[in-house]
Amino acid sequence: MTKNSDPMNMSSNEAEEALAAIQTIAKKTRQSIASGGTYITLIVTGVVWLVGFTCTQFLRQEIVGYIWAGLSILGGTVGTILGFRMGKRVRSPVTGPTVKRVILFWLLLALYGITFIAIARPTDGKQATLFVILFIMLGQLAMGLLFSFSSVWWALPISVLALAGYLLFPSIFYLWMAILGGGGMIALGLYIRFRW
């Protein structure tokens, strides 16, 4: 950017460069903040899905339950720690109450999800899995719409992907979700981190 020591003699070219610099840094700031939490969520969730669904496809049902429980705890812990570390970059006095509301929202969504599944009585594990995925994606969409519109869009293709796998390829549904769902989320997270 051209530097003019006296702003009162600024030319239109210099003004244009200054405005472009402002727009560039504002865009970079917005993207940096928006992508910070998004790529961590995507990579952690993607790894959990990749391992969990692959195990579900190939291992015995009684073992799979333990694997999912372990993965959920591990994913939740890693996501929280990394999210907390990222959160230190930008602080807000309104963060505390917001975090409480977010936790309450997810708890209520889980409660509604469990109630829904209990009433609907899914015929098999695949149907129950699809319900869980759709509820999680619904929650992600709500979070994105409330906090950062740029992080909304990825929940929609994942929902479509899950529905397509369930309806079109039921025999390899879990593998489908592992590779396309989990792998896709990891790839997208890495893309946002390094290329966005």
């Binding site: 950017m1 530097k3 003019n4 702003p7 009162m8 600024m10 030319s11 239109s12 003004a15 244009e16 200054a18 405005l19 610099a21 402002i22 840094i25 504002a26 970079k28 700031t29 917005r30 940096s32 903040i33 230190k88 970059r89 930008v90 602080r91 807000s92 006095p93 309104v94």
Partner: protein
């Protein structure tokens, strides 16, 4: 008519203010995050932040997080107003073309 601001006019300070006003008014940003975002050195950023703080355009908040010192920076209401006026002045120069 809006006027250009001599303090904000400097390119690094202009970019600092652009980053800070992009945040929500209640948010503050970590020094190292701002340094990496703007791709400047610690000393350079520190010097420009002092100028902006002296002018009353930003607030520098030094706190301990998990026993480690952190410096958080945010734009003041005056800083936001002056920055918007500076942007309006830049736009009016372009319109004169």
């Amino acid at each position: 008519m809006a006027e250009l601001n001599e303090t904000i006019h400097q390119p690094v300070r202009l970019r600092i203010m652009a980053a800070l006003v992009t945040l929500e008014p209640t948010d503050e940003v970590d020094f190292t995050y701002l340094r990496d975002l703007l791709e400047v050195t610690d000393g350079n950023l520190g010097a420009h932040l002092r100028k902006l703080e002296e002018a009353g355009y930003i607030t520098v908040n030094k706190v301990f997080v998990e026993r480690k010192p952190h410096t958080y920076v945010s734009a003041t209401a005056a800083g936001r107003r002056v920055f918007q006026e500076h942007v309006a002045a830049l736009e009016s120069i372009l319109k004169r073309k």
